[in-house]
């Protein structure tokens, strides 16, 4: 129990604050059953949050740095991938320095990093310095070589929580492609402050415990059914089947400090999916329900549009009701992964185009890079190489920013984390951004005063029924193969 420096007033304030939250929200419980967000998302609404959208690489990078700099008690990080490249190393080195400095002042300063085993690699040593400085690094699950799908979820959520007060959650891992301003992937995260951070942190702590369960001898000797049940009970109740809770030691005002006032005005519900807890992701079910009830507009972005039947039907059903549905995905040139990963999404795209969904494909800035290499043009900003963002915008109030690709793997095999934001201004900000992407259809690069602007042409296009034969040609005779391996991205 890390209780050094723990003060009674803080503890009382935390208890009083939580009691207030519980009482206040109790009145909303009756109505909760009618709210698809709380009912399907297995979550609660938190209010008075500050929520800032992080859509561009520089602001996201800066927000990360500033966030961990604020840390006085703990930093929790979960991520799918943490590369040994420039930005991955830079952040890791920054954390090493931070841990050393903070632990000189406070030996209880804690940094937990949770990285998926498959992305980390079996013999990875890149976290050695961080561990030597005092951080604890765990792998989530283990290497599977692709043939252990039953007890084999991958941790695909990405979050940073600092001191239980601030958090970042969304689609970015730690690698150059997320932060390099000249060759970046468009992605979305939110910077949170307020009550929602508590829920985010609770999910991290559960994932931390689950990773520990993977690492001990139980992993071998405990039958899978029992291990999964223990995890499921822990997640849904906060306690193991025995009634004991490994989370108890974190339920202090140091880990969960009371929120001072209202940092903002936005309502946020935290979403977390784990295939060890539920067979289908709550986020996918929620997305389907929201789309089914959309009245005017639906915008969905994902780099891997290999959807479940229900989601595809919900999207085409919305169009049939007169709702404008836009899907933003990568085209063949900008595909993050090729081969089966690309083919897997094509049957969905073909069906959605046939169903009247506006499918906008991003062709990336490969040609921009070529033009920059051939000319002296040095524009201040270049468009993203590819789309990696995952979001859903429904009508003019609700927006989901998430790590989930809303596809089959995210629905059945990955842990995923994100938020639903209920706020018109936030929703409008996202809409503006998506409209901005479409406006890049005829891109001209501003090369400054001394050099003429360069016309790039189309970097985004709307697919029409005429494009379907081309998609079928790319898919070839692999339809059956794609169906059989539908779990792939």
């Amino acid at each position: 129990m890390r209780n050094s420096g723990f003060r009674q007033p803080r503890r009382l304030a935390a208890a009083a604050w939580l009691a207030g939250v519980v009482v206040a929200s109790a009145t909303a419980v009756a109505a909760a059953d009618d709210d698809p967000v709380t009912r399907l998302g297995r979550t609660r609404w938190t209010h008075g949050n500050s929520v800032r959208l992080l859509a561009f690489p520089e602001e996201s990078w800066q927000a990360r740095f500033e966030l961990v700099e604020r840390a006085r008690h703990h930093v929790f990080i979960s991520t799918f991938a943490w590369h040994d490249d420039h930005y991955g190393e830079l952040f890791r080195e920054h954390l090493v320095e931070l841990v050393r400095a903070r632990r000189r002042e406070n030996p209880d300063f804690t940094v937990y990093c949770l990285v998926d085993a498959i992305a980390r690699g079996t013999f990875d040593r890149s976290f050695r310095q961080l561990e030597e400085a005092g951080a604890v690094v765990r792998s989530f699950n283990r290497q599977s070589w692709g043939v252990g799908p039953l007890y084999d979820p991958r941790m695909h959520d990405k979050m940073i929580v600092v001191d239980g007060r601030w958090g970042i959650v969304g689609g970015r891992n730690f690698a150059d492609e997320y932060f390099e301003p000249r060759r970046w992937w468009l992605d979305f995260e939110v910077l949170l402050e307020g009550e929602a951070v508590w829920d985010l942190q609770l999910n991290f702590l559960k994932a931390w415990q689950v990773a520990d369960m993977f690492g001990n001898a139980d992993r071998f000797f405990l039958p899978e059914e029992i291990a999964r049940r223990r995890i499921s009970v822990l997640w849904t109740t906060g306690r193991l089947p025995s009634g004991r809770s490994p989370l108890d030691r974190f339920m202090t005002a140091e880990y969960f400090p009371p929120v001072a006032g209202r940092p903002g005005e936005r309502s946020v519900a935290v979403l977390y999916d784990s295939p060890l807890v539920r067979r289908r992701a709550a986020t996918t079910d929620l997305a389907i329900e929201l789309i089914r009830h959309a009245r005017a507009e639906v915008d969905l972005m994902t780099p891997f549009p290999n959807f479940t039947r229900e989601l595809t039907d919900a999207l085409t059903g919305a169009v049939a009701r007169g709702t404008r549905v836009r899907l933003f995905v990568n085209g063949e040139e900008a595909a993050l992964r090729r081969g089966p990963f690309l083919w897997a999404g094509l049957p969905t795209l073909i069906e959605l185009i046939g169903g009247g969904v506006e499918v906008w494909v991003w062709s990336g800035n490969g040609q921009v890079q070529k033009i920059l290499a051939e000319t002296a043009c040095q524009p201040r900003e270049v468009p993203p190489v590819a789309l990696h963002g995952k979001l859903l915008r429904v009508d003019d109030v609700l927006t989901i920013v998430h790590s989930s690709n809303f596809n089959i793997r995210s629905t059945y095999y990955n842990t995923e984390a994100g938020v639903v934001v209920r706020d018109g201004a936030f929703n409008a900000e996202v809409e503006d951004l998506l409209d901005g992407l479409i406006s890049l259809r005829d891109l001209r690069l501003d090369c400054g005063d001394r050099i003429d602007d360069v016309t790039v042409g189309e970097v985004v296009e709307k697919l029409a029924p005429d494009d379907v034969p081309r998609l079928r040609e790319i898919l070839g005779n692999r339809q059956h193969w794609v169906d059989a391996l539908g779990l792939m991205w």
Partner: protein, 198 residues
């Protein structure tokens, strides 16, 4: 010090200790200040595990014939064939037993397997059966140079559709106290079949 004085001091010491403990407890020292149960009630998860997990509980008899290419000790390169029979209720338990043979350049074996795991349905777009298990094995090795060995090993195997990977480690000892190491990686082709019983 008289006995009565010692007794009074002992009582006083116990009283101080109890008072100290009670005071610390009242102050909540070391105790969580956040009501985890109330929080989970609010999150909507306090009703326990996912309801449909219980509803989906069904017994499945699994049949999993498979053949493997084996790399490792004692044969370096070997072939192996096994037949597993599994029983799973998809929710709380699963067990399997197996019989098989192994052949290689220096030792042949008869294999008896007892494991936990079994044939299960995978939630893919096109549902298919997979196999997942951890096992203990007894082998009767016929070594070309040192005769019969009795061997024990343990390992894990997982597969989706027609492909699986198995890891195994153990040892075997002959009646003349000769030892064989068993350390294998196997690539397996399999045909897992599930027969629903309920």
């Amino acid at each position: 010090m008289t006995a009565s004085r010692r007794a009074r001091l002992l009582v006083a010491a116990i009283a101080v200790a109890v008072a100290g403990w009670a005071g610390a407890a009242a102050a909540g020292e070391g105790q969580p200040v956040i009501d985890l149960d109330a929080w989970h009630l609010e999150l909507g998860g306090a009703d326990g595990v996912e309801p449909d997990r219980e509803a989906d509980r069904s017994f499945v008899l699994g049949v999993n014939p498979n053949c493997s290419a084996v790399l490792g000790f004692p044969n370096l390169l070997a072939y192996q064939g096994n037949l597993y029979l599994s029983l799973s209720d998809s929710s709380r338990f699963s067990v399997f037993v197996g019989y098989g043979v192994e052949g290689g350049s220096s030792a042949d074996a008869t294999i008896y397997t007892l494991g936990w795991g079994g044939v299960r349905k995978l939630p893919m777009v096109t549902p298919q059966w997979g196999f997942y298990g951890k096992f203990l094995r007894y082998r009767r090795w016929e070594d070309d140079d040192h005769g019969v060995h009795d061997g024990l090993s343990f390992g894990t195997e997982s597969g989706a559709g027609a492909v699986a990977v198995r890891f195994e480690i153990g040892a075997a000892r002959s009646h003349s106290d000769h030892w064989l190491a068993v350390a294998q990686i196997a690539l397996t082709l399999e045909l897992p079949v599930g027969i629903p019983l309920t």
